[in-house]
Symmetry: D2
Subunit: 195 residues, 4 copies
């Protein structure tokens, strides 16, 4: 079942997860729905091709902490997101989600400009009604919308405008979970909330 690609991926995820867990400043960026960190195989087609953290990452004793183990198939939402985005840019294999507020959005837009990263938004007000109800069906629309709003390219960071009953989140994607964890921790250390 496991092959050399899988072993290496598992090792990289462990190191990336320790980076997140060691970054106390990331705690305030973890949303109520928790954070997941995912890593797709180079030819990922389905959820079981994507490593993720079982139970996601929560704040415990003021620090980010994984609820369970790193394993293939542990994510549904973020796994679909990365699989869909790779149809536009196959180099993207990893992603992490975190909180979203108007204040952070403004800050992230600036941060992306500084970094030369593409920033985008999924405005869910444009989402067709029949898609919105079906969680799985909505992912292709959402990713297409993020790419469309970014002028046809896969964005580095994007967020969703809130929908009824859904906490809005930001997403950062990259080639590798260590890169993604490093970039997410840099954001967490540099960003200071509205207060």
């Amino acid at each position: 079942m496991m092959d050399d690609e899988g072993f290496g991926m598992l090792g990289r995820m462990m190191v990336a997860l320790e980076m997140i867990e060691g970054c106390r400043e990331f705690g305030p960026l973890i949303p109520e729905v928790r954070t997941n960190l995912v890593y797709a195989r180079s030819h990922a087609k389905i959820r079981d091709d994507v490593l993720a953290i079982d139970g996601r990452i929560t704040v415990v004793e003021g620090r980010p902490r994984a609820a369970g183990r790193v394993r293939f198939g542990a994510s549904s939402h973020m796994a679909r997101l990365v699989i869909e985005l790779r149809k536009v840019d196959p180099s993207l294999r990893a992603g992490i989600d975190f909180t979203n507020t108007p204040h952070l959005t403004t800050w992230l837009a600036d941060h992306c400009r500084t970094k030369g990263w593409i920033f985008s938004v999924i405005d869910r007000r444009g989402e067709p009604e029949e898609i919105r109800e079906a969680e799985a069906a909505s992912m292709p629309w959402k990713v297409a919308e993020a790419v469309r709003a970014a002028g046809g390219k896969a964005p580095k960071i994007f967020y969703e405008t809130g929908a009824v009953g859904k906490e809005p989140v930001s997403v950062l994607v990259g080639r590798d979970p260590i890169e993604v964890a490093d970039q997410a921790c840099e954001i967490a250390r540099k960003y200071h909330g509205p207060g």
Copy 2:
């Protein structure tokens, strides 16, 4: 700091938590924002008077699992809810939150009728705009609304209609976390989703 009431409460919470963790059927009722179980001191006034689970309860390996330890002050939202509700009925000292869907709402209404329990709803469409923005300020309004909709009495189970950016949850309250865990597990075992 700790007194005999606190030690006994801690012991009861540990037993209640093990009941939840041992109830695999409760897993599907844990919302994206996770479940918390809270227990207020008999004269609770502030958040630090309320025991809760640090990091809340998440699903790991298909089962409910506490992210961290049981400790005073670990909950903000559910702690405020119980403190507010106790102004109406001081016997209520414990509560648990879980998922909410139209299908479950209908089922819960029936379940409450069978049990002779008061069921209520917080319709957030009636929430004043200036309150909605301030998380802390909205709790008195929400509890007042749940009580009003229940004809002036503290309800046993109630739920919120979804607001933008907020996952709707159901809440069950009682005198003791063991009672509350027992009643929540009974619901989890009896309820079968819409499928």
Copy 3:
């Protein structure tokens, strides 16, 4: 199954365990066979009347950490020790074990003098051969030996001289796990190894 005594005991054990886990200096005093902390019911007769830590306490990331949950029946050896010792002094309901070396023994003898505590030793060279083989049978002999060597009184701290295949440990007993944890942490903070 659980009663008010049990709930209160569970709460006290949780607080005592957090004291141990919060005492980094206790780490070097945890033996290879790990540390257990036990707390017996006021009328404890059997192992299931004694709270202990499932999997005991180990050093993880340089700090003491409980392997599993606090539960009745989780200890065999330390539970029997406290049950046996209570036949001599029923006020003794809690105990903790930790490492034993010649250097620590000398230090503990001094510490006990300062505190006015009875210090004792179980010299296993005097243990009858037929008892030594049977773990359960050897406890009455060991406790009797510790009491005999202490002049007929229950000691506060005692240790075993090493036997073949057995790591020697020190034991500290008291009325309550919080008292015992407090006294063990004080030893850990004051004692500096031979180096």
Copy 4:
């Protein structure tokens, strides 16, 4: 710090650890001093070149469970053992230790015959006094003794006769932690104690 060899090793250790944790029958083979599973880099020279489980593996709720994370440098004793044994056979990079009793020793000798494995013993009665006291210094002697008793070859399984204050353990070595976990679990499933 981490390289591709390290990531792949970490992944293999995670899978091997899950095999051990999933093997309930291995629980009774975990000694009081706990079990460690180690994996050395292909050119391991020092302890930090060897992956191991921080806090080792303990029995919790009747099952083997890692106390902490898999990390380089987490083992002292088993790491030295594998580094020393690799001087005789560099293909050996992984090892696990487990309980040792006369009954199991007899069974293991048979099991090794069936498998065509070399079985050996470290008779610590022959250990020079000046070495015995120094934990680090005794490893070259112990491994040399195990190899000598095996007729000059690196054994597959070996055990130590008990010394005063030391719980005797058995050790199984191999090329990879997955191989080693698989072989240890097979032993655990086939062996039935003396009872």
